[in-house]
Symmetry: C2
Subunit: 201 residues, 2 copies
């Protein structure tokens, strides 16, 4: 409530986009992605739904903006899934490290992970994002294999843990080992989740 | 500053133990385990070092009390390491899930992990705890194998990630899969870190 702040809002130009994003975080956090609606978010923000579409396009784009996801999930999922089951472990490790290794991308992702660790609504949003925007697309490569979703989640859990020990806790030597050496260590282990599914088929 | 509270401190009986623990968190967080001293912690708390020893025993016991670790790390490390390299992956998964699956133990561990995600001093304390009280003892079972520490840290990172997806984000189906089924899925993958070290020897 600082009046006269030069960096603050201009009089008569409220931060409508910011209010829509805040309303979206509440709506997605409370209802999850499916039950949340652009109409409901617009109502929370006190604006017309058409304005939400004008600013953000689709519900999916609004969701990604609300979470401040610093990459295109479709492109990321494609980098992992394209090429099929052979080499999927390595592509997953390489893609994850390339995103989290970039400090500009890591900062908003860490904020999201921190929020999810202590806030149920944020956990819901991260869960919806991971399952819907990434896992679902990677899962397509596993078509027909037993326990595919469980295996993909185990791979994801490994990669989450890896970025925490490497970039947050900074355990040595894993924090200062080169990306290539970490990939060489982790890729065959991730691939084991794929290969065991093939073996059980 | 509620006066007359029945649950509050008694007059003349300040919470010396609590002040020592608070001082210990600051000292361990700033200096790490090695450089922190009982003398320094006592000075921060404004008490004699003998009183710290009287209440908490050794520096290690004071450290565990400050972190509110809800288990005996020596016993946990022994459950994983005893029996050597054969079956180590399964014992690590089983032990981790037994601790994190217990809500009474999970609550303080989650608090610690949350703090470490957003606070450098808490990250230092968790790193020191993990490397000194658990990893060091499990590492003994790897005696002489190449990149043993890196491999043990990769196992730990996987287990951290697993408890986050299972108990915090609650990704389905991994959150509601039975302990035994999760162990069956994860143990051979953790064991691959051990077996690849043996193969490279």
């Amino acid at each position: 409530m600082v009046s006269g702040s030069r960096a603050g809002r201009r009089r008569g130009a409220p931060d409508t986009k910011g209010e829509i994003l805040a309303a979206a975080r509440v709506e997605f956090g409370e209802k999850g992605y499916d039950r949340a609606s652009v109409r409901g978010i617009a109502a929370r923000a006190g604006v017309d739904a058409a304005l939400v579409h004008h600013y953000f396009g689709t519900k999916e784009k609004l969701f990604l903006a609300a979470l401040e996801i610093p990459f295109d999930p479709e492109a990321i999922a494609a980098r992992i899934a394209d090429g099929g089951l052979s080499g999927l472990g390595e592509r997953a490790a390489r893609t994850f490290l390339s995103v989290w290794g970039d400090p500009d991308k890591r900062a908003p992702l860490l904020t999201l992970l921190r929020s999810a660790m202590s806030n149920e609504a944020a956990a819901t949003m991260l869960r919806e994002f991971a399952t819907r925007m990434i896992l679902g697309r990677v899962l397509a490569a596993f078509d027909g294999l037993p326990d595919a979703r469980l295996r993909v989640e185990a791979m994801v859990s490994h990669l989450f843990g890896l970025v925490i020990t490497r970039y947050v806790l900074q355990l040595e030597p894993i924090a200062s080992t080169s990306d290539e050496d970490v990939i060489a260590l982790v890729a065959p282990v991730l691939q084991a989740y794929v290969d065991s599914a093939i073996a059980e088929q």
